[in-house]
Subunit: 129 residues, 2 copies
């Protein structure tokens, strides 16, 4: 065992098992974040534009999110025009909040390292200023 | 255009293009975070344990990170034993810090939504207490 950084007593502290793969994928993280900030729902076209996704990509990711019961997708009418409404479910909100707490841990772990670079210079704001 | 949440003036604000796919993948995010916090490097075995990865998975992801010049992998000797030493490169640190700043933006966007649930109740700590 290396004595270099003596990490032998740690468990798998960087495994981040709570980074739910359904949510972590970049396009789905975008879609869910847009829906979190619009709890009354967004049209398919709005999600597509806010997340800069193609029709095909958005359809594919919405299907995965719907199958996981994280979003609902309803055909409806807005004025005279047909519209597909996407909403995040209560389960989706719960799972998203759980995911965020793991993401916060990644940031905390990383920030402690970023504050000191290998040459000993700080590369971000001071911690004990 | 839906008037529901009036998001028609927004650009693709949830696209998060800066979430570099090489770094964002969960196993590689784990590996890079472990190496960020151990700037002098970690042995293959230490990374494997800290990130809870199998030999095959870690090899695969290290190869991708090495090809992107984000880590170096060197065969060496620790005492009498052969050892593979993994280190994050200067480019790796730079790209990781850039990635983190986008991750912080996701958290900020999400936190504003998480603070109010659809029923108007706060689901996290108070903002204006």
């Amino acid at each position: 065992m290396s004595k270099r950084d003596s990490p032998q007593d740690d468990g798998p502290r960087f495994a981040y098992g709570g980074l739910d793969r359904v949510i972590h994928e970049r396009a789905r993280l975008s879609v869910l974040t847009s829906l979190m900030t619009h709890p009354r729902g967004l049209s398919f076209g709005d999600v597509k534009r806010l997340c800069a996704l193609t029709d095909g990509n958005l359809n594919r990711h919405l299907k995965i999110l719907e199958e996981s019961n994280l979003v609902t997708i309803k055909k409806g009418i807005d004025g005279n025009r047909p519209q597909t409404l996407c909403r995040i479910t209560a389960l989706g909100r719960k799972r998203y909040v759980e995911y965020l707490s793991v993401l916060e841990q990644v940031l905390l772990d990383a920030a402690s390292a970023v504050d000191e670079d290998p040459a000993g210079k700080r590369v971000r704001g001071p911690v004990n200023a």
